[in-house]
Amino acid sequence: MEQRYYQKEIETMPVEQIKAMQSEKLVKQVQHVWDNVPYYRNLMEQKGVTPADIKGIEDLHKLPFLTKSDLRDAYPYGLLAKPLKDCVRIQSTSGTTGRRVVAFYTQKDVDLWEDCCARAIVAVGGTNEDVCQVAYGYGLFTGGPGLNGGSHKVGCLTLPMSSGNTERQVQFMQDLNATILCCTPSYAAYIGEYLAEHGISPDDIALKAGIFGAEPWTEEMRRGIEKSLGIKAYDIYGLTETSGPGVAFECSEQTGMHINEDHFLAEIIDPDTGEVLPEGSKGELVFTALDKEAFPLLRYRTRDICVLSRKKCSCGRTLIKMAKPMGRSDDMLIIRGVNVFPSQIETVLLNEGYQPNYQIVVDRVGNNDTFEVNVEMAPEHFSDTVSALTALEKSLAGALKTMLGINPTVHLVPPKSITRSEGKAVRVIDKRKLHD
């Protein structure tokens, strides 16, 4: 297809020039953080690093890492680098741990984030003649707001559907001739199933492309979605901590996602030692936000395991490409697009008077995640009546839903029945095949 770019000069900039630009921005950003974020300044001082030591991207490795636990420790304002009067927005992670991650944006931050999403939309062929149906959740979750903003920038007619209510989604899709769909891949697959069940053929809808992210999906799933919706399906990557979707996006080649390197500096590190690995190595993806004003994370460890590649891309973009994440370097699970940490489940169980003896079983039936939590029954909760025990299951499921934002099925099991291997209980059984 004919290649279009949203910001051609940057997207096709010679690599050396991009690197020079990154160096210049990094030096400024480190100074900004040093001056305005005592939390990070303290980390730098502990490492004996000052802004004077950072002369360009070759010095990046000298800076300390930030992790999710830093974000929790610094909640809510500890990593804020701008006065609140200059901030216009927050977004938050989908999970609701006791201390969730809250990211702040100035108007410029929102603008640059929306530019990133606009690049993703143009890369899949979007123009101001398109009708872009955004079926990501709107609200604290970054998916809806990010793609909504990008769609505006491109000039698409934007359908801010948010997620759910499939009947209405399909009605608008048909009546308003939506051409681009943005949502999670599992929801796209679900819409595909809905169409088939209702006798709507892919030829009956105008959809031509989809931008799907926020959860892991496979090539097999991609082919399924492409067939059921009659579209090309593209991946998009991002995380609340760095902005949201649009940190990286897929182009017509569909072989990985171009990282918006003018805004995000990517590294691959060894998750155990923290050592920076050479290009092409598999390791943990780390991002440094080069332009963010309000929430400028330096060397943020994403915990996504991934590979970067500078191989020339047929789309003409020179931006480095990241492969689909191949796993996690921590125990986070992504279930129905929501981040779930086993420790959150542990917290709920302790709060509800159970021992933290549990097992999470995740599977994918059709294209939907199933989420079961087996919990060892506590002696003081045991009852001789079925109604009392099912009420316990229900109330635990409710408490978990409040914490995680998604509904689990809770099964009470006898004490000591959760499989233990070598003395250590197996906490997570993930039967999904999410990585090719």
């Binding site: 045991f382 009852s383 001789d384 009546t385 109604s387 299951e393 009470l412 099991v413 004490p415």
Partner: protein, 143 residues
Amino acid sequence: MTLTQLSVFVENKQGSLVNITRTLAENDVNIRALSIADTKDFGILRIIVNDTARAFDVLSAEGYLVKATEVLGVKIGDQPGKLSGALEVLDKNEIFLEYLYAFMARTEKHAYVVLRVEDNDKAAAALESAGFHLITDLDVNKL
């Protein structure tokens, strides 16, 4: 005037029940009555045994979750309509019945029913004043 029932939490898994009954048999515990309630996740085995304390100990030692509950044991004539009469007494007195199960005595021509109600004292008084005979743990061994 109550009977002690033991409830055991049972996993819905092959072999779960046989392990429990074998443990009881090996320890000379005789099951006089039993019922099982199950959902698709789990089951609750409820038993009346000849030696409640021993059964409780040996099952707990095997790692089972066991709970003792006081229930009512009502002697019912082995004739049509007798059970219905007992239940009508509960109904009339607005006593909520959680569950029930029945068993036969070996020696006499009588049936017995185990009743799990919300309020044992109220139910016992109502049943006795209606002429029903209630049994205790001591009686169980003589049946």
